[in-house]
Symmetry: C2
């Protein structure tokens, strides 16, 4: 992933919010990055652009050498489904679906047969410690359990790139370590991981670090 | 706040989840407590019972010496409105209302005149660093900004007791310290604060600590 001079401006009537003011970096395939920075500095905005969920206002973004701005919405949607796993800051679980159905959702969209989907959903639920919760709905889970369901969903398609926005924000230390060990083993298997976190102990699990402030990158540590 | 042998069982068809298995403690007026524990250990469940948002399955809860189980829903609602400020783990902001309207919502329910409500909402928005966001909707805010709006709403009525579920879960270190300094100053002014957190640095701001695991209290540190 290589991005150059990315800007993002949100326009709301008269007002403009400059969420990103020109950020550039190169994230090598198979590397593990932590993005840190103050609240409102643009971390989630950057992650959504890297994850092809949103387009920058200006600047270039090359994903696997390909210019993402040249792709239409369908092509972006296809890339997201086949190569990216996204853990959202507010989880975005579907309230009407069970834990198992939520985790299996991207597999369903990929056209994976029902039985294999269900098997994989159960496997990943177990990996994040939710094996006994398959039939529960999100409203019946604690905050940290919902977060883990969101992590399981992002991993179920075995994506090449994992983008995680505060994946341990609602987890106690011991459970956070379990999730980080999971990420570390995925990284050893060749995945690219870009993780937003505000906790230094969590950022320490990554190889590289990017720090943001007010829509700009203030530090890059390789 | 004094509770004894509190249990909470969630029944979902055939299944029963024992969220609380008998917890007891005494939280003196004007004290500052941190509740820690593993994901799913019952922290949010305990907080919602202390905050009169939910009733225990069994056990007693005395709030200001009064047995809460003897009160009907209207009386509980009245206590919540007049004495308690609650920061939810998932914020629970109203999507259709602006930041200012969200913060002012409890004041509106208390019957405070519009102009005074708006003035106080602006004051608390400034206190949490959202002074420039009054007209924005929650979907236009970052995760940490939404969290701060939820904190401002809990404080706007100047409640005697503040119950906060992971109030800094989405905040960077510097902003977390600002929120903790705010809580510390409220505590110095005599407020009772009960805060769920998984971060030891945040728990360190409290005077006392309660640790939970699997629906039980495993440790009480005075
Ligand atoms: N409405 C509900 N229906 C069924 N079970 C529930 C419900 N709410 C919570 N639970 C269960 O009760 C237990 C305690 O949940 P609680 O939300 O209190 O945990 P917690 O300590 O706050 O966890 P976390 O740190 O992950 O937020 C969990 O096992 C959870 O799945
Ligand atoms: N849909 C939107 N409309 C308008 N402004 C937005 C929108 N989404 C984000 N913003 C603004 O863009 C800026 C960056 O937001 P972003 O969510 O990327 O921050 P962040 O670094 O993730 O913050 P946090 O650590 O609090 O989650 C913030 O000032 C935010 O209010
Ligand atoms: Mg964010
Ligand atoms: Mg909780």
């Amino acid at each position: 992933m290589e991005f150059k001079d990315l800007t993002k401006v949100y326009e709301m009537g008269e007002e403009r919010v400059h969420a990103l003011r020109g950020v550039s970096a190169r994230i090598e395939r198979g590397s593990f990055w932590a993005i840190m920075g103050s609240s409102g500095s643009g971390k989630s905005t950057l992650l959504s652009i890297l994850g092809c969920l949103d387009r920058p206002t200006s600047g270039t973004y090359l994903l696997g050498g390909e210019d993402v701005s040249a792709l239409d919405d369908d092509a972006l949607s296809d890339i997201r489904l086949r190569h990216l796993g996204f853990v959202f800051q507010s989880f975005n679980l579907v309230p009407q679906l069970t834990v198992a159905e939520n985790i299996a959702l991207p597999l369903y969209y990929q056209g994976v047969p029902e039985r294999e989907s269900a098997r994989r959903a159960e496997e990943f639920a177990n990996v994040v410690g939710l094996g006994k919760r398959l039939g529960h709905k999100p409203s019946q889970l604690s905050g940290g359990q919902q977060q883990r369901a969101a992590v399981a969903r992002a991993l179920a398609t075995d994506p090449t790139v994992i983008l995680a926005d505060e994946p341990t924000g609602n987890l106690d230390t011991a459970t956070s370590v379990e999730i980080m060990e999971l990420f570390a083993s995925l990284h050893r298997r060749g995945k690219t991981i870009v993780m937003v976190t505000h906790e230094p102990d969590i950022a320490a699990w990554a190889q590289h670090r990017l720090v943001m402030r007010d829509g700009l990158v203030t530090e890059v540590r390789q």
